[in-house]
């Protein structure tokens, strides 16, 4: 980490709405392979709009809530920099380029999707995508699990959805409640009597 972020007294750093939009748009255009590292690189290292500690804190909020990390982060950072309008500008800007690309890809696919070379390439791309998601699952598991019981909750969730065809919300609420109760707040252990 370099110098601390200049936070003016009386409030967080204010950045103009146009700046917020522009910078998130640039991230939206360039962030091949997932925006989170790009967000950190630009917002923290390059622009110094946030320090690393704040970024990690906002990332952890983003990861705890439903929604994609990238869009949740855009909302939190946008709000911090420029209020509610900043949150709206940031999420629109980060989605816009990828959305336009996919709009074009959808049209191309509608016209050429059944050509043999396209289906061959897509077969390989789909297989690679599964490897990619599995790697994020491994990373998420390493970072977020707390104890062996969690593997039972993972297995229950997978079985519920894939084997017993519960809907995702049923599995989420059912297993989720059980897991939350399992991890319920314990009373702080009484100061253990030292011998």
């Amino acid at each position: 980490m370099s110098e601390p972020v200049p936070v003016p007294p009386g409030g967080p750093l204010r950045v103009s709405l146009a700046q917020v939009f522009l910078q998130f748009f640039i991230i939206g255009i360039t962030s091949f392979g997932g925006p989170v590292p790009y967000l950190r690189g630009r917002l923290v290292a390059k622009l110094k709009w946030l320090d690393d500690k704040e970024f990690v804190e906002l990332l952890s909020i983003s990861q705890s809530l439903p929604g994609l990390n990238a869009t949740n982060l855009a909302v939190l950072v946008g709000e911090r920099l420029c209020g509610p309008a900043g949150a709206v500008a940031a999420i629109i800007a980060i989605c816009l380029p990828g959305g336009l690309y996919m709009f074009g890809a959808g049209i191309f696919y509608r016209i050429h999707g059944d050509h043999a070379w396209v289906t061959s390439a897509l077969k390989g791309i789909a297989a690679a995508s599964i490897g990619l998601v599995l790697s994020t699952v491994v990373q998420l598991a390493k970072r977020s699990l707390s104890g062996h019981a969690d593997f039972i909750f993972i297995a229950l969730t997978v079985l519920a959805v894939n084997r017993f065809h519960f809907s995702v919300p049923e599995a989420l609420i059912g297993v989720g409640l059980a897991a939350i109760i399992w991890h319920r707040p314990r009373r702080a252990p009484q100061a253990a009597p030292t011998e």
Partner: protein
């Protein structure tokens, strides 16, 4: 108009299921988009998901062509707004309350409890997609190869997805 309303209803519902990542909503997306509404078929859904891994930005932009096919360009806009709106509002509200929530003992419990469920839902999404994708030794090797490379080396995943496409082009 009915189609646009259906797009909004489906994607705002899916929005709240993306716990841990977009893939968590995949089984339900298949049920809604393929099974109930027939906007795309299963292999098209897989193709859109996969193409979405190669474009920059948030990795669920696959919803754009689905919205477009269902209800035209306005449907695409509706899909994005519906898919990102609910979680954005939730994040905004919780983000503002976070400092106060920090003292709430159940917050840590909820985070710890949802962690294994997120992992499970992502895996379930992977398995659902794998059923339509892994059809033999070649596709299984591509998936396993990408997984192992990403766990071992720091490399941009989009390059590996493109690499998978090139392997597919040459071998299928």
């Amino acid at each position: 108009m009915d189609q646009i309303l259906a797009v909004i209803r489906v994607f705002s519902y899916l929005s709240l299921l993306t716990v841990g990542g977009g893939m968590a909503a995949f089984p339900e997306m298949k049920a809604e988009v393929v099974g109930i509404h027939h906007w795309v078929d299963f292999s098209q859904l897989i193709h859109f998901y996969s193409l979405g891994q190669m474009v920059p930005g948030p990795n669920m932009m696959m919803i754009v062509p689905i919205g477009d096919w269902a209800a035209g360009p306005l449907g695409a806009v509706a899909a994005v707004a519906a898919f990102f709106g609910p979680t954005a509002v939730l994040t905004y509200v919780v983000g503002r309350l976070w400092k106060r929530l920090e003292a709430w003992p159940w917050r840590a419990s909820i985070q710890k409890g949802l962690a294994p469920v997120s992992v499970g839902l992502l895996l379930a999404g992977c398995f659902t997609m794998a059923k339509g994708t892994i059809s033999g030794v070649e596709t299984a090797s591509i998936s396993a190869g990408v997984l192992l490379i990403l766990l071992q080396y720091k490399i941009n995943p989009a390059l590996l997805v493109i690499g998978g496409g090139i392997v597919g082009l040459l071998s299928f």
